[in-house]
């Protein structure tokens, strides 16, 4: 399935079909999750109604980590097999991951103020997630920093791989250090320590975020493929101006990408 789709033309056809379904599904699931989280979920016995922030904070945090892993795996695939779709997938996913990380940090801060009495502490969990946010931004900046697009892609992929070290640090920071952030209550050995009435809306929201990620990923990958195809067509149409401006010939090129105009 994956190897079949790993062809730009086939990917475009498959994603044309998948896009509206993914979009509709994510809208419906997120709407259900929102109503559940804001209306039907019970208030916490300690946190009161402020616990409702958790229904977006926790799924956003899970997405921040998962999307980074996705970027890293796609980057490794690109570095090893030089597959252009893997490179496009990594670059398409990174801003989505950065957005989820921003949501995680902002909502966590808004929850921390009433519950901890502070917007921010430099504890291991919060700091390592902030590092994750900067890793995303660094990756995006690095990929776009070179005139030669393939060099940017390679440098960015390396950064993404090195940054993987941060993922276990985030996950286990609450066990390794004495953090203000509470330890895991869902993804832990043994059963989750929160009630099913709160677990369910949490999971619905997580599924909704995953669907949104899938939709945005396909949309952004299609955008990148369109742009590369257009760029190649422009080069093909104007060989004279390419000779006159060698910088334009290098910028944004797609080595290894079979273009079928």
């Amino acid at each position: 399935m994956l190897t079949r789709l790993a062809n730009p033309a086939r990917f475009m056809r498959a994603s044309t079909t998948a896009l509206p379904w993914l979009g509709a599904a994510s809208a419906v699931v997120i709407a259900i999750g929102l109503v559940w989280a804001l209306v039907f979920a019970p208030p916490d016995y300690q946190q009161g109604e402020s616990v409702r922030i958790m229904f977006i904070h926790v799924p956003a945090a899970w997405m921040a980590l998962s999307v980074y892993l996705f970027v890293a795996v796609a980057s490794a695939t690109f570095l090893v097999w030089r597959h252009p779709l893997a490179e496009i997938a990594a670059q398409a996913a990174a801003p989505i991951g950065a957005a989820f990380t921003a949501v995680c940090l902002a909502t966590g801060s808004l929850w921390g103020r009433p519950m901890w009495g502070t917007w921010w502490v430099w504890d291991a969990r919060l700091t390592s997630v902030l590092v994750l946010f900067f890793l995303y931004l660094g990756y995006i900046a690095l990929v776009n920093a070179f005139d030669d697009q393939s060099r940017g892609a390679r440098a960015g992929s390396l950064l993404a791989l090195v940054g993987v070290v941060n993922l276990p640090i985030i996950k286990f920071s609450v066990d390794w250090w004495n953090t203000l952030h509470q330890p895991a209550s869902v993804l832990r050995l043994g059963a989750p320590t929160i009630y099913i009435s709160m677990l369910l809306p949490l999971f619905v929201m997580t599924i909704g975020f995953w669907l949104l990620f899938g939709w945005l990923l396909l949309l952004r990958m299609r955008t990148a493929l369109n742009a590369r195809k257009a760029h190649a067509l422009r080069l093909y149409a104007q060989p004279a101006s390419r000779a006159a401006d060698p910088a334009a010939a290098n910028a944004g090129g797609a080595p290894g990408l079979a273009v079928t105009p």
Binding site: L34, L38, V39, P43, G48, E49, S50, R52, I53, I56, H57, A60, P95, I96, A99, A102, V103, A106, T107, L110, W111, R113, P114, L212, L216, L219, R220, R222, T223, N226, A227, K229, A230, L233, R234, Y236, A237, T260, P261
Partner: protein, 58 residues
Amino acid sequence: MTSAIARWLAMGGYAVYVWPAYGVTCLVLGGLVLYCWQRHRHSSTELARLQQQLGRRE
């Protein structure tokens, strides 16, 4: 009825934290959706225009 809605909006005294949290999320994710959607549309029309200009079809 109105008091039930008012009570819900008050979020047990945490309204100033809960609603901004949901607002920020909607703003960030909604903004990303709009931005990506527009860029996708623009790239599709631009490619179609180029293909037509060059007299080529897929």
